[in-house]
Amino acid sequence: MQVTVKVFRFNPEKDKKPHYETYKLEAEPTDRILDMLEYIKGYFDGTLSFRRSCAHGICGSDAMRINGRNYLACKALLKDLHTNKITVEPILGLRVIKDLIVDMEQFFAHYRSVMPYFINDEPTPPQERLQSIEERERFDDTTKCILCACCTTSCPIFWASDQYVGPAAIIAAHRFIFDSRDKAAADRLRILNDQFGVYRCHTVFNCTECCPREIEITQAIGEVKAAIITGRLD
């Protein structure tokens, strides 16, 4: 079928302000939006710039705003969009560097701010630390996060203030807060109790709706809020 793809373009070396270019191409219903962008770059305009790597929804490179909603371009198939008119724009709330590439630094700075690493300074046993199947299941959902930024850049609170730590960082904290082996939950809860922490979330659910890993993000944020209030991790 013929598809019309309208793409946000901005090259700071040439353009004073962003504009849109429209391309027409033939595509199969099962094509990924990423396939179309590759085709446009290969045959129409080599200057079109975007990030991508694994092309199947695991590396998290190609988060984009497609027809107004955040997707990974490699996980959005033409048939799933139910239209042959596609608009592709950079994710919102982060500075556009060129075309569909945004500056991820603020996003990763928030990630780093929540101590997103396992902490347990007790002597290690000769074999594995034991953890029950139930204890492991407690934080399973948030281990899936691939740091694509779909969630954080779909959040209107983050659009309003990029000081808000954002859903992805809270998810990263949640993964450790609820891990029975980790010992630094209290420190992370203190960090997220900040004015730009977890209470900025007004449960808009945009994050949950667009997460390509189908993580129950809003629920996880709620669990972190509850843990701060109750001081309990169940």
Binding site: T47, S49, C54, G57, I97, F118, E128, R129, L130, R175
Partner: protein, 597 residues
């Protein structure tokens, strides 16, 4: 141009690179340079598990793991290195757990393990549960955990820097040149130790599970500086890629009881591997699938087969095989259990195939997956650059870019993640130790000269060739003629085509002449790497007149231990000529035997 100085630099931020950085940074000033943000690295896509004989689920021994790996390698793996890896595996997996890796758990709270292709109880010959897993995202969890630990330990990162040249001075590594992707500025990294951990080059082939980033950069930059490559003819095709797209469907699906079915509804692996059937080695299964398709037994006569993990199918064949649970009761699976154990696979099948694997079989075909060959190293990750295994001072390689060789002619599933953590760690330790006792080599007078020459050629190319046409022709001919089955005639024609394409490559014009994220320029440079590697692969393969592991020739269908039980070394000379040499395989206690599954 900007200059930086570190004791140790690590190129690539996948499992091997991050493990190396974690260990090197304990004692040496270390930086990681990566063309991707570290968490985007291809390690993250590994699914099924990391092999280690923990014996958490049933009796197992690292010596069994060793033998299985030797046999899997079709006796081309170096047995001292394989022993080292399989012995170290147990501690390495515990170490990952201590770093917080969220492994799935047994009912006793230990690390859960599942069966995988080629891993057996050496007494009974039956599959053994050796793959330590975190659902079906083990690689993702390894990558995340190691990146997190690197952040905790304040490792220096240069993210989105493309390394484009290896600096060699006085026969030793002196650093690298990198392009900062955001600005196109050149950076010179002066170092005492350089660890290459850049992964493989599966993008040479058409149907592949490999990321766009998998363009053999580490191999290309070191080949251009005179470092030989080892066993480049050996490239693994994984049996179960999603039809047409090549996206990986883990062997763990078959570990959990899934079976391959042909167009006649037969479980055809019974005929090719009577003992372990769908859990034979990858080369064996991929070839069987190819032969089934060639015989007209594809689904509806087409070039794909079914991977069936519907509960009724799993339970039927588990009963026929007499498969038991650990408590001795018959092995069964429900739809819910399949979704719980293989959530990402269910998601991939639904997204890309429109198939619900609990209710329908998945269309699959073999997919280019893993680079067995690469930069020759010893088991400490030191690059060894001739037939006598002479060490090149300061140069290290680990992970898929390296050839230790622990995978020989065919890698066993789960041994790639194992390779990353064991050899990443030892390369990091050894590189730091070397750096602490060595002086910096002087930098060349003009360290970016070669880089500028390469990129000037790319920027100024004249002609009307197209990058996608040149790359798709390379992928197609390599798939057809230097893929799962090879002939002298086919490979000769592939070689001619690749050489033509290397000429056409010079006439692909660069439209983007800017400096900010010039991805077109980088993609062109990467294609140059792939073309050069495709030629080395083909020349190495053409010379090897036997069939062994992943290298299967119709015109030489048998393994030939008399003439070919040896590693290929390939050098690219400055005039472009490829010269081959050979070195012996290290055999400790496993004499080559016929390989039957």
């Amino acid at each position: 141009m900007k200059k930086h100085q570190f004791d140790v630099i690590v190129i690539g931020a996948g499992g091997a690179g991050l493990m190396a950085a974690l260990y090197a940074s304990k004692t040496a000033n270390t930086a990681v340079i990566s063309k991707l943000y570290p968490t985007r690295s291809h390690t993250g896509t590994a699914q099924g598990g990391v092999g280690a004989a923990l014996g958490n689920e049933e009796e197992d021994h690292w010596e069994w793991h060793t033998f299985d790996s030797v046999k899997g390698s079709d006796y081309l793996g170096d047995q001292d290195a394989i022993e080292f890896m399989c012995y170290e595996a147990v501690q390495a997996v515990y170490e990952l757990e201590h770093y917080g890796l969220p492994f799935s758990r047994t009912s006793e709270g230990k690390i859960a393990q599942r069966p995988f292709g080629g891993h057996t109880n050496n007494v009974t010959g039956k599959p053994v549960r050796r793959a330590c897993y975190a659902a079906d995202r083990t690689g993702h969890m390894i990558l995340q955990t190691l990146y997190q630990q690197c952040l905790k330990n304040n490792v220096n990162f240069f993210d989105e820097f493309q390394v484009v040249d290896l600096l060699v001075v006085n026969g030793a590594a002196a650093g690298v040149v990198a392009i900062e992707l955001g600005t196109s500025e050149l950076h010179v990294f002066h170092a005492k130790s350089v660890i290459l951990a850049t992964g493989g080059h599966g993008r040479v082939w058409d149907i592949t599970s490999n990321a766009y980033a998998y363009t053999g950069d580490g191999i290309a930059i070191s080949m251009r500086r005179g470092v030989p490559m080892e066993d480049m003819e050996f490239f693994q095709f994984h049996p179960t890629g999603i039809y047409k797209l090549g996206i990986l469907i883990t062997e763990g699906v078959r570990g959990e009881g899934g079976v391959l079915i042909n167009g006649k509804g037969e479980r055809f692996m019974e005929r090719y591997a009577p003992r372990v059937k769908d859990l034979a080695s990858r080369d064996v299964i991929s070839r069987a699938m190819y032969l089934e398709i060639k015989a007209g037994n594809g689904i509806n006569g087409q070039n794909y087969l079914y991977l069936d993990v519907r509960p009724e199918t799993v339970n039927k064949y588990a009963a026929l095989d007499g498969r038991k649970r650990l408590d001795g009761t018959p092995y069964t699976m429900t739809g819910e259990e399949i979704i719980a154990k293989l959530p990402d696979i269910v998601d991939f099948a639904r997204t890309y195939l429109g198939v619900d694997p609990v209710a329908q079989p998945m269309p699959v075909q073999p997919t280019a997956h893993y680079t067995m060959g690469g930069i020759p190293t010893n088991r400490f990750g030191e690059a060894v650059i001739d037939e006598k295994n002479t060490v090149m001072p300061g140069l290290y390689a680990a992970g898929e870019v390296a050839c230790v060789s622990v995978h020989g002619a065919n890698r066993l599933g789960t041994n790639s993640l194992l390779d990353l953590i064991v050899f990443g760690k030892h390369a990091g330790l050894r590189a730091a130790e070397f750096a602490l006792g060595a002086d910096f080599q002087p930098l060349p007078a003009d360290p970016t000269e070669f880089t500028r020459a390469q990129f000037d050629a790319i920027r100024n190319a004249q002609g009307n060739e197209k990058i996608l046409e040149v790359s798709s022709k390379m992928k197609a001919i390599m798939m057809d003629c230097v893929g799962m089955f090879r002939t002298g005639e086919g490979m000769q024609s592939a070689l001619e085509t690749v050489r033509e394409l290397r000429e056409r490559y010079k006439h692909i014009p660069l439209h983007d002449q800017g400096k900010i994220f010039n991805t077109e320029m980088i993609n062109l440079w990467e294609l140059g790497n792939l073309l050069e590697i495709a030629e080395v692969v083909t020349v190495s393969a053409l010379a090897r007149q036997e069939s062994r592991g992943a290298h299967a020739r119709d015109d030489y269908p048998k393994r030939d231990d008399v003439n070919w039980l040896k590693h290929t070394l390939s050098w690219v000379k400055p005039n472009g000529e490829i010269v081959l040499g050979y070195k012996p395989v290290v055999i400790t206690k496993y004499q080559p035997m016929e390989r039957v599954y």
